[in-house]
């Protein structure tokens, strides 16, 4: 067994909000051409027909207001460029058109093509260059937050493509229920920032399992005391609010929340793990739930259909959706001191890969999983049986001592 997998005891997932790969990490192609980001060949037409190229002019706050539309019909326009005909092909040519629909302002609509320069995002870009960055991690659905986050918790959205509250249809249990009900029992926790920010995973909160939830302060404490559960899911702060500690600025990076506050939060999660006794035993995945209506150039691939279908009425496009293709590409980075610096992963993943990986790693064979989760690739190889060295990302023979530190 490779020592990285042998030592791995804890997996942490931090899911941020609503930014595309090209928007956050597209600048890195200039540093490492293996990273599939922004090139001079990319553009989108605006509503006058002029080609709008991506430019490194993204701002931390105040630029993407109103919030770019990322509900199912808008994302359909972004991906297919407005073609609704039979046999249509995705071309990623409808982002500027889609944003124009919100303000009818050609100049403003072009901002959807802006991306961050590398030096604006010292945390995310450093982590991407230092550890494993995924060139092909897609949102699970070409739609909004709640249904995409559901894939991270359940491996399915139970047929939903919207923001409505979802209820769990047996037999697909959340990854948390699977772990704590396993024999032998495993541990899992969903850490929300504080009670004022709360969680987007209300379904679990409603069930009789409040013990599955903790605050970010508890996460920090569990890291420093070496008491992280086997699996942790961390949520950022979703709102600007006052707390006993003072002013809390939203750190989710959802437009129009401040990007730098999110950078600080990502660094804080990373530092908490890195400075804990569990650093050699922990892998951290930083991933975004969906693209938030912001430009990305990679066509989302087809995937195994789920066993649910959203009706033409539910999708709002006049066409049903069989959950047979992925959403727009998002940033995703896997962090561990066992990962070689500069790793670039080209296999296809989506959020169903999260419960898929956790389940296979901690539980091994587990039958009642959605078709989407069952067919999703894993980003950490199961720690049993023979391991394919070409797939194992935690491949070093010794822990790295050159990992970065952030001043947070």
């Amino acid at each position: 067994m490779p020592p990285g997998l042998d030592n791995l005891k804890h997996i942490v997932v931090l899911m941020m909000e609503n930014r595309s790969f090209d928007h956050m990490l597209g600048s890195l192609t200039a540093v490492n051409p293996q990273i599939d980001g922004i090139t001079a060949a990319l553009s989108n037409p605006d509503t006058t027909g002029a080609a709008v190229q991506p430019q490194p002019l993204a701002e931390f706050q105040g630029q993407l207001d109103p919030d770019p539309d990322h509900h199912f019909p808008a994302v359909d326009l972004q991906i297919f460029g407005g073609n609704t005909g039979a046999g249509r092909a995705a071309n990623m040519q409808g982002f500027v058109k889609s944003y124009f629909n919100q303000q009818q302002d050609v100049g403003h609509s072009q901002k959807i093509m802006y991306y961050f320069a590398q030096n604006q995002l010292p945390v995310l870009t450093t982590l991407a260059l230092e550890f494993a960055v995924f060139n092909r991690w897609f949102a699970s659905i070409p739609g909004p937050t709640i249904c995409n986050r559901a894939f991270a918790h359940y491996g399915t959205s139970f047929g939903r493509v919207d923001m409505d509250l979802l209820y769990v249809n047996e037999p697909f249990q959340s990854i948390y229920s699977r772990l704590i009900n396993a024999n032998p029992k495993h541990t899992a926790k969903l850490y929300y920032y504080d009670t004022t920010s709360s969680t987007m995973e209300i379904t679990n909160l409603l069930q009789n399992q409040p013990e599955l939830f903790g605050s970010y302060q508890q996460f920090l404490s569990d890291c420093s005391s070496g008491n992280l559960p086997d699996y942790s899911f961390v949520e950022p702060n979703y709102s600007d609010h006052d707390s006993d500690a003072g002013e809390e600025v939203a750190s989710d990076q959802h437009p129009d929340h401040n990007i730098q506050a999110g950078e600080l939060f990502i660094a804080s999660v990373y530092n908490a793990i890195k400075s804990s006794p569990l650093w050699p035993n922990t892998a951290l995945l930083v991933v975004y739930d969906e693209h938030g209506g912001i430009y990305d150039h990679v066509v989302p691939p087809a995937c195994t259909p789920d066993q649910f279908t959203a009706s033409a009425n539910d999708t709002g496009t006049g066409m049903p959706f069989a959950f047979d293709r992925l959403g727009v590409r998002v940033p995703a980075i896997l962090i561990s001191p066992w990962i070689p610096k500069g790793t670039v992963v080209n296999r296809v993943f989506d959020h169903a890969s999260i419960p898929g990986t956790i389940t296979k790693f901690f539980l091994g064979a587990y039958a009642p999983r959605s078709p989407r989760e069952s067919s999703a690739d894993v980003f950490i190889e199961p720690n049993s049986g023979a391991v394919d060295p070409t797939r194992n990302l935690l491949s070093l023979n010794a822990v790295r001592t050159d990992c970065p530190d952030f001043d947070v």
Binding site: E17, L165, S198, I202, D240, D256, Q260, L264, P404
Partner: protein
């Protein structure tokens, strides 16, 4: 590797920002949760009147705390009969011992 500086955001705090679609959805989910709580745990907040992020945050905090309080109250209620049972068993054992002596 050198320590990497992370710039702090300036003037980012704005609790008067209009509520975004995500927070609206979260409020609706929590409103559904609130409706299932015992009445004593209900807030008296009318969510359709919530317009700002600060107001949304206040509602979200109150309902989240109420959910935890309701679960804690239920757990305490479950634990009470168990404690009573234990006390009764102890008393019974004592009586039996006395009779045998």
């Amino acid at each position: 590797m050198a320590l990497i500086h992370v710039p702090r955001p300036r003037n980012a705090m704005d609790p008067d920002r209009p509520v975004n679609a995500l927070l609206k959805a979260q409020m609706l989910h929590l409103h559904d949760a609130e409706s299932k709580l015992p009445v004593r745990h209900h807030t008296d907040i009318y969510i359709n009147a919530i317009k700002t992020e600060g107001e949304a945050a206040n509602y979200i905090r109150q309902v989240t705390e109420a959910i935890h309080a309701a679960h804690a109250a239920a757990a305490a209620k479950r634990a009470r009969p168990a404690a009573k049972r234990a006390k009764r068993a102890k008393k019974k054992a004592k009586t039996k011992l006395g009779r045998n002596a």
